[in-house]
């Protein structure tokens, strides 16, 4: 993992104990799961080429305020690690090195039904490639604006309710392009969709 992402992760994990000492009205939740990411670059050189990350582990920490009239304000730091791959149509799949993503979003959560809650959030996402080669040769493209939506379900079990333990589906979308891609004639960004399925609960 690259140093920059490592520092962010260490900071993220260090926040957990201090957040637990927050007011009883506030909450901190941890989620751990897996994330699918759609194609980041679609190109065509003789045959079509897609570049996308492998299925990645995903770790997120969410801090929320007390619920008022069913609404909760939340902030989430979300990290995932994967290998970037090139898929040549009718040809090989080639690893292009490691890729870490860090996303920070703020938004609102609302209870939708018994045990079911939804969240809308906006924020930013940054890529930390393992090597500054290929599409990341001239940089990772800065922070990409991100829109996010999530749904959480906590089953009606005493233990699950006590720990707010449930299943969360998180979706987000951002527009991806890098300086190297611009230099090669890409004039518009590629919409990148990410979907994570995770277990979420109070640490």
């Amino acid at each position: 993992m690259v140093r920059g992402a490592g520092i962010w992760l260490a900071l993220l994990l260090s926040l957990i104990p201090s957040c637990r000492r927050l007011s009883a009205q506030a909450s901190v939740q941890l989620s751990l799961g897996a994330r699918y990411t759609s194609t980041m670059v679609h190109d065509s050189i003789v045959t079509p080429i897609d570049v996308r990350p492998t299925l990645a582990p995903s770790l997120a920490v969410t801090a929320g305020t007390a619920s008022e009239h069913g609404w909760t304000a939340e902030g989430t730091i979300d990290v995932s690690w994967s290998t970037l791959e090139r898929h040549d149509q009718g040809g090989p799949t080639v690893g292009l090195g490691s890729l870490t993503t860090l996303a920070v979003v703020i938004g609102v959560r609302r209870a939708l039904a018994a045990g079911l809650a939804g969240r809308l959030a906006v924020g930013g996402l940054k890529y930390f490639p393992g090597e500054n080669t290929g599409i990341f040769r001239d940089g990772s493209g800065g922070v990409f604006p991100l829109g996010s939506a999530a749904v959480t379900y906590v089953p009606p079990l005493a233990f699950a309710r006590r720990r707010s333990l449930g299943i969360e589906a998180r979706y987000d979308v951002h527009a991806f392009i890098t300086p190297a891609l611009r230099n090669r004639g890409f004039t518009s960004s590629q919409p990148v969709h990410r979907l994570a399925l995770a277990l979420r609960g109070t640490p």
């Binding site: 679609h42 190109d43 065509s44 050189i45 003789v46 045959t47 080429i49 570049v51 090139r86 040549d88 040809g91 090989p92 080639v94 292009l96 090195g97 906006v122 080669t133 290929g134 599409i135 040769r137 829109g147 979308v173 951002h174 527009a175 190297a180 891609l181 090669r184 004639g185 890409f186 004039t187 518009s188 960004s189 590629q190 919409p191 969709h193």
Partner: protein
Amino acid sequence: MPLCLGALACSEPTPPSRGGTYNFADTIPPDTIIAFHWPSTRLPVRFYAVPQGNLPFLVERAVATWAGLFLYDEFTGTLVSDSVTADVIVVWTDSVPPDAPPDTAGSQGACNGVTAPPTVDSTSTFTGPFHIQLSVLTAAVYTPGQVQACMRRTAIHEVGHSLGLFLHSPAPGDIMHSPPLVDAPSEQDRRTVERLYHTPATILPAAP
């Protein structure tokens, strides 16, 4: 924001046009096409440069120059210290030129390079490593700086042959023009080698 995200989710960018290449595949009459590139399973390609003068520097610089052209890591190379394990062997033909700051002006004709591909067996597989020779030309008097400038571009040109660019470009602005007149690969060189590395090869490299 919802409108922006909606538009974002629906738009698909068009890949850039990659027209404008020169021929890279050689032909054995009447119709045998020789198209070669290093497959992803054989990367990084192993280059051996005899440790005399600044030859390792010249080869490493040439390999990095070509590798830097690719957007999707189609080619990578590395210098190795043992010629027995090399895919490409680079030597001086005779004299070793002194290392000096390159002086591009008037450096045409100060050096020469030759790349000899290995022979091909009955299974359309190369039988050994590529051999590249770089030589100082003595028909005229050149300064060490002029020789070095010539060697830098000639090393890139010859390493280009070892990547599979077997033919010369007709355009003087391309590094694969013979003799090379420019110091770095052009946009057309880049498009051509990109295209080569996504074209099915008709010849395989020798077993590692």
